[in-house]
Amino acid sequence: MTALLPRRGLAQILALIVILAVDRVVSPQFFDLRLQDGRLFGSLIDVLNRGTPVALLSLGMVLVIATRGIDLSVGAVMAICGAIAASLADSHGLPVVLAAALGAGLVCGLWNGFLVAVLGMQPIVATLILMVAGRGIAQLITEGRIVTFSSPDLVWLGNGSVLGLPVPVVIALGMLILTGAVVRGSALGLLIEATGGNARASELAGVGTRAMILAVYVWCGVCAALAGVIAAADIMGADANNAGLWLELDAILAVVIGGTSLFGGRFSLVLAVLGALIIQTMNTGILLSGYPPEFNLLVKAVVVLAVLLLQSPKFSGFAGIAARLRRTKA
């Protein structure tokens, strides 16, 4: 049960420290924190807050990727669920709004899971369908407008604070703990890793591989829904065109930076969230430095390359192990 933060997280922690140090150089006030009206402010808090949507997405994505799948639709699911929350916010109470939005995310996850686990479609194609169609659905819900709302409950979800921390950060932390407890507290973690590592063998060992795959897509949908609600609450409105746009790529990136292989198998929730924070720390740093935001994309690309090189068997000290694996395979 102590496998939440394995030793292999060292590279990611070092990367985060290096990026934080660079941020400190470009922006001397980077580590400054101040308490105002019972809430903490500062660049670090900003990183956590802004990083929440991708962190939530990566919690679902890391499980999907561990089964050797991928979910391209999370950005669109964010848009759908944000639109639902925004449309209902001023006429219904928060519990109804949340239930509707999360329920929609669950249905989206079931759809993806059905296509992959039951119909056996390739995950990248199966989830591409909802990635494209989902934005259309979101636009239908908002009737092509940007739906704004003023429900204080929903606004609090995006802008309030608990114990000095922004509510989104608390929610993300709660989801990390919840997901960790479910996945590592039950046998789910082992069975997901086995399914991703070798689905045929796992099935022959009696693992319900289809149920595993269905479950991870459903969870991914729920996480995306929550991210969508928070994103809508943050701007007090739902923009079907731009909510969650391209965030699926950031989520995949976060998972990969977190050391989970796109070929499935071993995964780490904590490191995936750490990956999301690394991405956001870079984003914030570049914004603070005054460089044009276009730089963001280039820097991200360089960091991805660096992480992948570090993980590639030919590049790292794992070369010996990989070579032996290959030999035994032959």
Binding site: G185, A187, L188, L190, L191, L204, G265, R266
Partner: protein
């Protein structure tokens, strides 16, 4: 055959080839001689080394020792392409062509007729048409290759190989997915090519076809050369003996007499159990403390029987019973729930999860059986792993090592441990000793006996007949996807099993050639 070879001039000479993969010796000092104009069958059971030999000769794998001479010249191709350049072409069962390109493009891939840097489509099609006409094919060469049957794809691949001036043509299981008529066409082409002096290596496990087409047979077993014979003077029984039997020592069952076992309780039974197009319906009773061996040639329905019994494949007829109660086996999960376990033949693809540790691989089936909500604590997992690592002497003994880094024999033990941890009533072992070294081999056999003495029921598939004879209480013999014979007690010996496997062939004319 009318185009009999000139023994004085071997076309392809392979001498003393050895090849190891890690600790597994896939080929040990194998010799092989192909004469010009002959069709030479290369035979052996799974794991005998046929594919490895082909891949070593064609440069796909580097060889550890030995030489290859083509027309008297030593050759050492470094890749399949280099081998092709030297005149050795291989056509695999899965045709290595591009189904989305046209037939003509496939034939002239990499060497299209060009003018001013532009492919001359018309010229290419004309030449493709002429080339295929030579093989008796008249088809639209502009259509994608994938539109045509496997047979035509095969002929296209052969035509391409021959047109690339191949002197040696290796056909690896070319007839596996062809119907009778297509096989005739292919054989016609093979005879024609042999008539032109091309040497053909024919790998197949259809013995009827081997007798029909080949002039000479080379048999491999466990990576060693068993012998080379003239097809016409090799009785079928003798051939099967070469493929299966070890040294034909009259091994008899070391197990107690069958009468004693009649008294044992039935663990699982299958009545008229089968699946259309998979295995003919069979009756099978498995008793506690009993080993039932499944013997037969490759493709005889052994693995298929095992998969049906375990539930990895759904039967469409018959009734399965466990401890007398009727059950439905729809999936591996059902099999596991009823206390069955299955160690598949393909350990790497169907057995181990290479990336996970020995511990995780061992507890996997038990955890799946217990369900999500009853996780084994880390302490319980450690304890189970430690117990089985010790009991089965798994090496290295570190339970946290990724199982992919272990040797084949130790991986097999991990799989055994995985099932033993579930306290099964029936274990199905498909080729449990395949591809593992001699020491581990003996250990696995000792384990099979021990497990059985502890009341476990075992269904074991093996190509090693003397091995089957050693541990089985009963032996079921399969042929052409049907159970044809059941031997028990004193009737279990290698000779009787071979006779049952070959019974079909004994009636045919081939046997008369002996």
């Amino acid at each position: 055959m009318e185009n009999s070879s000139d023994p004085a001039s071997p076309l392809l000479e392979v001498r003393g080839i050895s090849k190891s993969f890690g600790a597994v010796r896939a080929l040990q000092e194998v010799d092989f001689t192909l004469r010009a104009g002959e069709i030479h069958a290369l035979l052996g059971e799974n794991g005998a080394g046929k594919s490895t030999l082909i891949k070593v000769v064609t440069g796909v794998f580097p060889r550890d020792a030995g030489i290859v001479r083509l027309g008297g010249e030593e050759v050492a191709p470094r890749s399949a392409k280099a081998a092709l350049g030297a005149g050795i072409a291989t056509v695999y069962q899965e045709v290595n062509l591009l189904p989305n390109l046209s037939v003509a493009q496939n034939l002239f891939l990499d060497r299209q007729p060009m003018r001013f840097g532009i492919v001359r489509e018309g010229e290419m099609r004309r030449r493709a048409k002429a080339l295929l006409a030579d093989f008796g094919l008249d088809i639209d060469v502009a259509a994608p290759l994938g539109n045509y049957s496997v047979a035509i794809q095969h002929v296209t691949a052969i035509a391409r190989a021959v047109d690339l001036s191949a002197r040696v043509l290796i056909l690896d299981e070319p007839t596996a997915s062809l119907d009778r008529h297509e096989v005739e066409i292919l054989f016609g082409i093979m005879r024609k090519l042999a008539g032109r002096g091309i040497g053909i290596v024919f790998v197949s496990h259809f013995l009827d076809q081997v007798y029909e087409i080949s002039n000479r047979i080379t048999v491999l077993r466990n990576g060693r050369l068993v012998g080379e014979r003239e097809t016409a003077s090799l009785p079928r029984l003798e051939l099967i003996r070469m493929m299966l039997g070890r040294e034909l020592a009259e091994t008899t069952s070391a197990r107690a007499s069958a009468t004693e076992h009649k008294a044992r309780e039935i663990c699982a039974s299958f009545e008229a159990y089968g699946k259309a197009g998979y295995v003919a319906p069979f009756d099978l009773e498995l008793r506690h403390g009993e080993v039932v061996g499944l013997a037969g040639l490759l493709g005889s329905g052994r693995t298929e029987t095992a998969r049906l019994v375990f539930g990895a494949e759904r039967a469409d007829r018959g009734q399965a019973r466990v401890e007398g109660a009727a059950v439905r086996l729809q999936s591996p999960r059902d099999g596991v729930r009823h206390g069955f376990g299955y160690c598949p033949e393909e350990r790497k693809t169907d057995g181990i999860v290479a990336e996970l540790s020995v511990r995780e691989n061992i507890v996997l089936a038990l955890q799946a059986k217990r369900g999500l909500h009853r996780p084994l604590s880390r302490r319980e997992q450690d304890e189970i792993a430690r117990r089985y690592v010790k009991m089965l002497d798994i090496r290295p003994s570190d339970p946290e090592r990724p199982v992919g880094l272990l040797s084949g024999g130790n991986q097999q033990k991990v799989l055994l441990a995985r099932w033993l941890a579930t306290s099964p009533r029936l274990l199905v072992l498909d080729e449990p000793t395949r591809g593992i070294d001699v020491g581990a081999h003996a250990e696995i056999i000792r384990l099979i006996r021990e497990l059985c003495d502890n009341g476990l029921s075992l269904l074991v598939i093996s190509s090693e007949l003397d091995e089957i004879v050693t541990y089985s209480d009963r032996v079921v013999v399969l042929r052409d996807r049907a159970h044809v014979e059941e031997l028990a007690g004193g009737a279990i010996d290698v000779g009787n099993i071979l006779a049952a496997i070959a019974a079909d062939g004994a009636a045919t004319a081939h046997e008369g050639r002996a």
